[in-house]
């Protein structure tokens, strides 16, 4: 499935007329109006040969989707669940048992203000989103509390770009020069950790700049920073 060349869409643009029969699944940023589909968000209109259409926009507020990996901050602690701020319209709920090996007797030791990497399991628009810190089979798989390091915020589209293949130039250039680990939340929250504090600071300051740089510019910026370190 190769994506065709993208076009810039504004809200209210007509995309395609709905067929008379058959099933059509509407992607993000597309809305049905009567007999045809229109865009409802600004961004790049992406289409694939298999007939998928969606609008890839740049926004700061995260609208939860089931299956997304997000980085959240614990805001409340209740008896059955934690309240997690994932930059969505509502505070998400993370059940206390939603961790690998957690039972009613042995609960995870999370405090208000801790950073967690979780997966969205329920994201209906009428209810608060729900998270879990395990993968589908119940294993930890990197989810859970994140200790140390530093987190920064970016747009949801840049976070999606960081998770995509091939890696954006800024990330691969930094990865070749420095050693660090990264947890990318599709809600526009990214965590960086490295044994050396200077590396953490450099990555936290440089990575968000890569959103608007071209590949050549990104590599130049990283080269300049690395050479100034030595």
């Amino acid at each position: 499935m190769v994506a065709k060349p993208v076009r810039i869409a504004a809200p209210g643009d007509s995309v395609v007329d709905l067929p008379e029969k058959g099933e059509v699944r509407v992607g993000t940023g597309i809305h049905q109006e009567g007999n045809h589909l229109i865009t409802c968000r600004p961004g790049l209109l992406c289409t694939t040969q298999s007939g998928k259409v969606w609008v890839a926009g740049r926004q700061k507020r995260y609208i939860p989707q089931v299956g997304d990996c997000v980085l959240g901050v614990i805001t409340d602690k209740h008896s059955e669940n934690y309240g997690v701020d994932i930059n969505a319209p509502f505070v998400a709920s993370l059940p206390v048992l939603g961790f690998e090996g957690a039972t009613r007797r042995s609960r995870p030791n999370l405090q208000v203000g801790d950073l967690v990497y979780a997966r969205v399991t329920a994201a209906d628009r009428d209810v608060d989103p729900e998270l879990v810190c395990t993968d589908a089979s119940g294993k930890g798989a990197g989810f859970g509390a994140l200790a140390g390091g530093q987190a920064f915020r970016c747009t949801t589209s840049f976070a999606a770009k960081l998770m995509s293949q091939p890696q954006p130039a800024i990330l691969s250039a930094l990865g070749k020069a420095l050693q660090f680990e990264l947890a990318v939340g599709l809600n526009g929250h990214v965590w960086v950790h490295s044994p050396k504090p200077t590396t953490t600071i450099i990555v936290t300051n440089t990575l968000p700049k890569g959103e608007f740089l071209s590949d050549a510019q990104a590599e130049l910026v990283v080269k300049r920073i690395v050479s100034s370190m030595q």
Binding site: R7, I8, G12, S14, H31, C40, Q59, F90
Partner: protein, 228 residues
């Protein structure tokens, strides 16, 4: 007959639009109509207190702050007009129980402040990627004491006018990256003060529609530039 600044009666002033200038707001925009400048920012959709919540759709909140002084009844009226305009285009059913706050700060008022505020609000909503099914553009027209029609009046022209009319028209495109957006045939919002004949009103509405077509062309161009 030329106006101050040597404009023709139906000519708009210089249009400038800046997007995403505030770091913390979900969306922000500054719109200039000549020297009149308005900054709008959008927060949302976000949660709000229970008594303001609507279980079936998002609630739009507008806060209009004048250039000088404290907001009074006139500002409440502007807030009501802008809120009703926004409710007409935003897909509120997609975010039940949420609140979309639009804060408007008039930075400089040299006439047509309400029209500039509405344009800034639309651009800020687009910047925040709030789901909308149309875009909208607004312009101010006035009828002088001699019965002449002026589009986009400055503050002196507004004060000397017999009637001042602010109009909002919605716009959409028949396809992505169409050559020109199409403007709705009827205004979505019309706020008038003063006295004018029905013929003068209709003439102003038509002139306003042409001006909104040019404003819409400008808005779509500005949006394209911000994404490319």
């Amino acid at each position: 007959m030329t106006r101050d600044g040597e404009r023709s009666p139906r000519q708009l002033r210089n249009l400038v639009c800046e997007r995403s200038l505030l770091h913390r707001a979900d969306g922000s925009a500054k719109f200039f109509l000549g020297k009149t400048c308005v900054l709008a920012c959008v927060y949302g959709p976000t949660s709000t207190v229970t008594r303001k919540e609507n279980a079936e759709q998002a609630v739009i909140e507008v806060n209009y702050r004048p250039m000088a002084g404290i907001a009074g009844t006139q500002e409440r009226q502007q807030e009501h007009l802008i809120r009703r305009t926004i409710e007409g285009v935003v897909l509120v059913a997609l975010h039940p129980r949420a609140c979309i706050s639009v804060i408007i700060q008039v930075l400089e008022d040299n006439g047509s402040a309400l029209a500039c505020a509405v344009n800034a609000a639309c651009t800020a909503l687009v910047d925040a990627a709030v789901p909308m099914h149309r875009l909208f553009a607004s312009v101010c027209c006035c009828t002088t004491q001699d019965g002449e029609l002026l589009v986009d009046p400055s503050s002196t022209e507004e004060q000397e006018a017999a009637a001042v009319l602010t109009l909002v028209y919605t716009s959409r495109r028949a396809e992505v990256e169409a050559a020109r957006p199409s403007i709705s045939s009827a205004p979505m919002m019309s706020f008038s003060s003063g006295q004018c004949t029905p013929q003068q009103y209709l003439l102003a509405a038509l002139a306003g529609r042409e001006a909104c077509q040019r404003l819409a062309d400008f808005s779509y161009l500005s949006l394209h530039k911000s994404f490319s």
